[in-house]
């Protein structure tokens, strides 16, 4: 499935294994992107699976096509 993390260039194709959660997919993408502290970084993100809100702990459906994830934006 296609994975896009906010602020990165391009998107990644991640092969979903059985039992993968959204977090697993994002962590794998974060590792491939070379992000520091991939697990902590991913835990700050809110994912969207196929344009629908999701939780990091949600299992990835076999037919899911893409994940977009971004952090909160807090200004003041």
């Amino acid at each position: 499935m296609k994975v896009k993390i906010a602020g990165t260039t391009g998107s990644l194709d991640v092969e979903v294994q059985d039992g993968y959660t959204v977090k697993d997919v994002l962590v794998e993408a974060a590792n491939r992107l070379g992000l520091e502290n991939p697990v902590e970084t991913v835990e700050r993100l809110t994912p969207l699976v196929d344009s629908k809100p999701a939780q990091l702990s949600d299992p990835v459906a076999p037919q899911a096509r893409r994940v977009a994830a971004a952090p909160n934006a807090v200004n003041g």
Binding site: K2, A6, G7, P47, L48, S51, P53, A73, N75, G76
Partner: protein, 288 residues
């Protein structure tokens, strides 16, 4: 010929000096010249000046590329979709600090959002493009500025990750997700990057390669910063330049009028061929 010219120039100068000193000009010269040495010298001086003028006209395009006869090409303007700026030439002394160019309508869109939320802050996003071969980033149209759902107070604006992700998702549909790199917000009065804003930048930097932050207020003051996180961490306040793209109809009218009404003196020397000009009619103002 050249030697004769010089000899007569010298004769002219000598004649002038003699006349000023009250002395008589020599009665006889080595080469009898019709009209006397003064007029012959004057003729040769004019000939030399004319030759120098011709040489300057001939070589000036080499030094002043595009300074004459600039055709305005509306197609080039439309294709450019970005303002003319000084490109960065690797190895040159050109300043390479990043610069943000905001098209006037994009700035107006931000101002409209800010004024539509009186008494509170507001934040939004924008699509940023990078001018190829430069360190210049630009927001081209009002359509590139938008907001998402958010919770605001007089001193904060909070966009949930889900709403930011939704914007990212839509950007993917439009194949513009790589351009979603501007985050702007308003302050009630002073424009500066508060500790909250700087923390937000660091949070974004955990995933982002680079992005641009902009803060504004209802008075229209602006400040922007560019943050790059990989391969090296750079955070720097950048200049914001507001520009206005001329529309194609206006450019075409100007081109037609100039072709019909504006005339140039006939060139003394034939024009060089094969030169191409690319120009855009752009009005630029700078806001610090």
């Amino acid at each position: 010929m050249a030697f004769d010219c010089l000899r007569h120039c010298f004769g002219l100068v000598k004649g002038v000096i003699l006349l000023r000193s009250g002395a008589r000009a020599p009665q006889q010269t080595k080469v009898p010249v019709r009209g006397g040495p003064v007029f012959t010298g004057l003729f040769h001086v004019l000939l030399i000046l004319f030759t120098i003028y011709g040489i300057i006209r001939l070589v000036s395009p080499l030094f002043f590329e595009g300074s004459q006869d600039l055709p305005i090409d509306p197609e080039a303007v439309m294709q450019l979709q970005h303002p003319l700026t000084t490109p960065y030439h690797p190895g040159s002394d050109t300043i390479v600090a990043p610069q943000l160019l905001l098209e006037q309508s994009a700035l107006d869109m931000i101002a409209a959002y800010v004024n539509a939320a009186p008494g509170t802050e507001i934040s939004g996003f924008g699509y940023v493009k990078k001018l190829p071969g430069s360190n210049v980033y630009y927001v081209a149209t009002a359509d590139d500025i938008f907001i998402t759902e958010q919770l605001v107070t007089i001193g904060s604006a909070h966009v949930k990750g889900a709403d930011y992700s939704l914007a990212l998702d839509r950007a993917m549909d439009e194949e513009r997700d790589d351009e979603l790199r501007l985050q702007w917000h308003s302050h009630p009065s002073d424009v500066y990057f508060s500790p909250t804003d700087r923390t937000n930048i660091e949070v974004f930097g955990q995933t982002a390669e680079w992005f641009i932050s902009l803060v504004t207020n209802r008075q229209g003051e602006l400040r922007a910063r560019f943050d790059s996180f990989r391969p090296v961490r750079i955070g720097v306040e950048i200049e914001v330049v507001v520009y206005r793209m001329a529309d194609a109809a206006m450019i075409e009218r100007a081109r037609t009028d100039v072709a019909a009404l504006v005339h140039q003196p006939k060139p003394l020397l034939p024009k060089r061929r094969g030169r191409k000009h690319t120009t855009a009619a752009v009005v630029v103002t700078t806001k610090q």
